[in-house]
């Protein structure tokens, strides 16, 4: 009997368990998935929770529900990966041997990286919305907040779902308009990059959104520390941003187990071949989702497309065939713009998001890089797709793992 071990039962790990259980011979392979947490969160929902658009119940379910029969599910903390011995050591002493290892340990926020961020004001007037606890406590704060300076802030790149902070800003505008208090709130978007939008076509097509909603951009702001007593963020060049309410996306790091095991880069992400998803250091270790160091977005849709290609490459690896160099960095994301509208973007390693229709040429029904109500309905419908199709490994019709150029206004350009 051979062992395939998946570390992490989030979006990527759960999808891989579901894909592989039907592909691998039960006589030859035993599949084990390890995750210390009992709850599976619908992370895109964390964007909606602070604004009372989703309830807490809509964004969490028991993880066990989604692990298929025939897969051993171990709910324990991973202590160490020993790649030379092909072993995974768990917190309470159990050692699991593996023939193939899939690392799907994701990324998490590290607010302790910035002085003053995770201090006495954490979840008082400094919030994240990348965790369930952060999103929920921010919801409670927003329910009673009387207004003032709201700063929405990105600490440094790369972050999970890079558009989420911008969506947060748009939804915040709508939220305060609906509460009849928009005139009492100053919204600023503070980024270390040179704009809220950083790619030429998106900037051209979408910059109006910031102007229309009265959102002030503060660019090239590399935070050094937070003076939480005086409600100020300070950057390395001496600039300051004052806030009454700070919604920040802290530094995102890979899991500590990656660091402990000596498998990561500066940010604990695992160096991974960007086309095959095999780890660069060990040929029987594969990596998927946010845990990789790929120059793709850290997003569920990317993980979804990776899962289809990785499943095939695992089978090829077992059969001794060359791996398919197929992953192109494909991402497909809905972006909320407030007022019941959303955008859709579709892009990969080399093509920036462009205008057009999706998934069918000239028909859509979804518009790319353009606001519409249909896109917003798509985003809301996606929660059902996530729980019922995506993590269960069911193919989503008409959406291919690699990017298609059909229906898009593609010019000769590289990003």
């Amino acid at each position: 009997m051979k062992n395939l071990v998946i570390l992490g039962a989030g979006t990527s790990g759960t999808m891989m368990a579901n894909h592989l259980v039907s592909k691998l011979s039960k006589k030859e392979w035993k599949i084990t998935i390890v995750d210390q947490y009992k709850t599976h969160y619908y992370q895109p929902g964390f964007l909606f929770l602070p604004f009372d658009i989703y309830t807490t119940k809509q964004v969490k379910k028991k993880g066990k529900k989604f692990i298929p029969k025939g897969v051993r599910y171990v709910q324990e903390k991973i202590e160490l990966i020993k790649p030379k011995k092909n072993e995974v050591h768990l917190e309470h002493g159990e050692t699991i041997d593996y023939d193939i290892l899939i690392i799907a340990t994701g990324t998490k926020i590290a607010p302790e990286e910035i002085d003053g961020m995770k201090g006495p004001k954490w979840h008082k007037n400094i919030f994240d919305f990348y965790t369930y606890e952060g999103a929920k406590s921010l919801r409670n704060k927003l329910r009673e907040w009387k207004g003032g300076k709201l700063a929405i802030h990105i600490t440094e790149m790369p972050i999970k779902c890079p558009v989420a902070p911008l969506e947060f800003a748009f939804l915040a505008d709508s939220y305060f308009v609906n509460k009849g208090m928009r005139d009492k709130v100053e919204i600023s978007f503070v980024t270390p990059l040179d704009g809220a939008f950083t790619k030429p076509k998106a900037t051209k097509a979408l910059h109006y959104l910031l102007e229309e909603k009265g959102i002030k951009e503060v660019t090239d702001f590399n935070i050094e520390s937070i003076d939480y007593e005086n409600n100020k963020m300070l950057d390395y060049s001496g600039k300051e941003v004052e806030y009454d309410l700070l919604v920040t996306v802290p530094t995102n790091l890979g899991d500590e187990v990656i660091e402990r095991s000596g498998l990561g880069d500066d940010m604990n992400f695992v160096p991974t071949d960007k086309a095959t998803l095999q780890s660069k250091a060990h040929e029987n270790i594969f990596v998927i989702g946010d845990a990789t160091n790929l120059p793709a977005s850290k997003a569920g849709s990317v993980a979804h497309f990776e899962a289809e290609i990785l499943t095939e490459n695992i089978m090829r690896h077992i059969e001794g065939k060359p791996l398919k160099e197929e992953f192109d960095g494909h991402a497909n994301c809905f972006i909320e713009t407030g007022n019941g509208k959303a955008l859709l973007i579709d892009f990969n390693y080399t093509h920036e998001p462009v205008e057009g229709t999706f998934p069918f040429l000239g028909v859509g029904p979804l518009n790319l890089l353009k606001e519409s109500r249909m896109n917003h309905m798509g985003k809301l419908a996606f929660r059902w797709i996530y729980w019922n199709m995506l993590i269960k490994g069911t193919h989503i019709p008409f959406v291919s793992a690699t990017m298609t150029e059909k229906g898009k206004k593609i010019e000769e350009q590289k990003v």
Binding site: E113, E156, M157, P158, P162, V163, L166, P192, L193, D194, F197, T198, K199, P200, A202, L206, T219, D220, N222, E224, Y236, S237, T251, D265, D266, M267, K274, N293, P295, S297, A331, C333, I335, I345, F347, E352, P353, K414, V415
Partner: protein, 96 residues
């Protein structure tokens, strides 16, 4: 410099066209006078680019080449966006 392909913002679109002279010219446009320390940072950035590793302020901090205050002093204003332009590589971006 006339044959060097650059985008609207002044970034090289083809890294293989980069030479030290090209970097020097771009630095002049930015009013930056290059020193050995500047070039050390540029080599680090180019190495990261070649290995397809993401650039971040944190990465610079951990590189051991320079601390962040010095990085700001060498490339005042937007250190990553200016240094990447001089290095002939794309600026750090988001997905839109």
């Amino acid at each position: 410099m006339n044959n060097i392909k650059r985008n609207d913002q002044g970034y090289l679109t083809d890294f293989s066209q980069w030479t030290k002279e090209v970097g020097e010219e771009i630095a002049k446009e930015q009013n930056i006078e290059m020193t050995d320390k500047h070039w050390e940072v540029i080599s680090y950035l180019q190495d990261k680019h070649t290995k397809e590793e993401a650039l971040s302020i944190r990465g610079i901090k951990k590189s051991g080449i320079i601390n962040i205050k010095e990085f700001y002093n060498l490339f005042p204003g937007g250190p990553l966006k200016k240094s990447t332009m001089i290095a002939g590589i794309p600026k750090p971006k988001s997905c839109i």
